[in-house]
């Protein structure tokens, strides 16, 4: 008893120290983000001022060395590639988490999960390289030229499946055993238990996984740069080449000067905007779902 009271008193001073350290670190993290945004604005400012926001959407094309700065095709490229990969990867990721957790024999499930973890650790440039020498020629044989929106979607899907699957798996592992026991006792089939018990309880976790996957797909640069063809044109079908905002920055930043460079920072700002929009949407969705659930 005595020792515990002395522990409490000593904790109060160390806790005060800890709480202030944590506050300081949180402030630094937040401040860093703010600094990045401010830096982006400062670097993009010459373009925003001299070119004007409207011209990024109304110019005849993206020819920065000839003073034309249309960004719309790259926004569409980014949106389609990200949306496509999320549409493919979400069901695949969630289904493989279900397989791993409820259907696979324990040993196979464990190995399967380890393999997916390994997949999550592969650097994106390796995916890109594989896409460039294997996937793109395959698509090219089917429907030339090969580097295309489809190639980008497939590579991004491969890259975000592990993220979605692992987060989904982790949240499924947290479903109280009592729920599963009750469902079994009620005579639920395995699938109706998943559909009526597991999926509704893990909804928030699944959304978080998809959101993380979305963020990775949106920000991915190297792999996309290697397989998408990088032609600045709004894609009209899956086999058209696209250039994403991230690839645009990576391709041209090293060579860009003056207004061209500032225009690339505008692409960076747009990317940040898109990311914020996605997070906002996901938050809204999550809030509504949490609300419905508690109701």
């Amino acid at each position: 008893m005595i020792s515990s009271s002395s522990n409490i008193s000593s904790r109060s001073t160390s806790e005060g120290l800890l709480s202030w350290t944590v506050r300081l670190l949180a402030l630094m993290a937040g401040g860093l983000l703010l600094l990045v945004v401010l830096f982006l604005f400062r670097e993009a400012w010459p373009a925003l001022q001299h070119i004007g926001v409207a011209r990024f959407f109304s110019d005849p094309g993206w020819y920065p060395t000839e003073d034309a700065y249309r960004l719309t095709p790259m926004i569409w490229g980014t949106v389609w590639a990200t949306a496509g990969s999320i549409l493919l990867a979400s069901p695949l990721g969630i289904l493989s988490a279900l397989f791993c957790h409820f259907y696979a024999p324990p040993l196979l499930g464990r190995w399967y999960r380890r393999m997916v973890e390994l997949l999550a650790g592969i650097p994106s440039v390796v995916f890109g390289f594989w896409g460039l020498v294997v996937l793109v020629p395959l698509i090219g044989r089917w429907h030339p030229p090969g580097p295309s929106l489809l190639a980008g979607i497939l590579i991004l899907t491969l890259m975000i499946i592990p993220t979605i699957m692992l987060v989904a798996h982790a949240s499924m592992a947290q479903v109280p055993v009592a729920y599963i026991h009750s469902a079994t006792a009620l005579g639920f089939s395995r699938w109706s238990m998943i559909w009526h018990v597991i999926l509704p309880t893990t909804k928030v976790g699944l959304f978080t996984g998809i959101l993380l996957g979305l963020a990775r797909a949106l920000g991915e640069t190297m792999a996309v740069l290697m397989v998408c063809g990088n032609v600045v044109r709004t894609p009209s079908h899956l086999f058209d080449p696209i250039r994403t905002l991230t690839a645009n920055i990576a391709l041209e930043m090293a060579y860009a000067l003056g207004q061209h460079r500032a225009a690339l920072f505008v692409s960076g700002l747009l990317l940040l905007g898109l990311a914020m929009l996605c997070v906002g949407m996901a938050e809204g969705l999550r809030y509504r779902n949490a609300y419905v659930a508690t109701k």
């Binding site: 060395t65 000839e66 020629p137 030339p144 080449p241 391709l251 041209e252 090293a254 060579y255 061209h260």
Partner: protein, 283 residues
Amino acid sequence: MSKISKMPTSRGPATVFLSCLLCVSALLGQVSAEAKEGKLVITGSSTMAPLVSEMGKRFESLHPGTRIDVQTGGSSRGIADAVNGLADIGMASRALKPQEKDLYGWVIAHDGITIILHKDNPIQTLTDDQIKDIYTGIITNWKTVGGLDAPITVVNKAEGRSTLELFLHYFTLSNRDIHAHVVIGDNEQGIKTVAGNPHAIGYVSIGTAQYDATHGIPIRLLPLQHIPATIETVRKGIFPLSRPLTLVTKFPPTGLLETFIDFAQSNQVNDLILKQYFVPIHE
């Protein structure tokens, strides 16, 4: 050349003394340069960076205590860095433009740009007009120029690269006229793209292309105006699409800077230049 080869045969006491004096003065010069500044920052052309980096390594081993720091970023960046003083030397894989005449350019080697096709493509030669029509989207099928019945995949370079600039200049095109299917960053990405697509056409540095073609990558280098795209034709200066690799300084070089530029222009680095399939300025 002839003078140097004669020296050992006609070595008298006077020449021995002279060469000793030269050595001592070189040593002294080196020491004083080191004392002044031991590090050179070189930025610019991604075509030149591997070569200059190798030169730097050899220079460092010959002049202990010095450091040559090579960074890539493109010719425009190299020139801008030299002007702003962010780099001691800029690398530009082109000749200096008329508006850059107040800078000092030192050619260390030559490079040629070549049109490349996949090895399985039966086309052996294309005229300049055909290449221009392919790149502007007037010719879209290999059948039109005597090849297989297959759509052409046009590989272009990203904005700002000096290879693109030189290509457009030679074919008197603007980047708006080009109908590309793939836009690539560096030479290797272009070669991998063409090697992976039997119906693609692209353009890259001759040095890189010849190196890869002789190392089993399935690409073919096309002649231009009936002149084969090889190291020899670029050295002779008869290949139409070639460019000088230039070191750029803002001021007349002194000290370590001068020592390095002399070294980069000497035939002590010929083997390094040849190893990268560039063309040395000395035979």
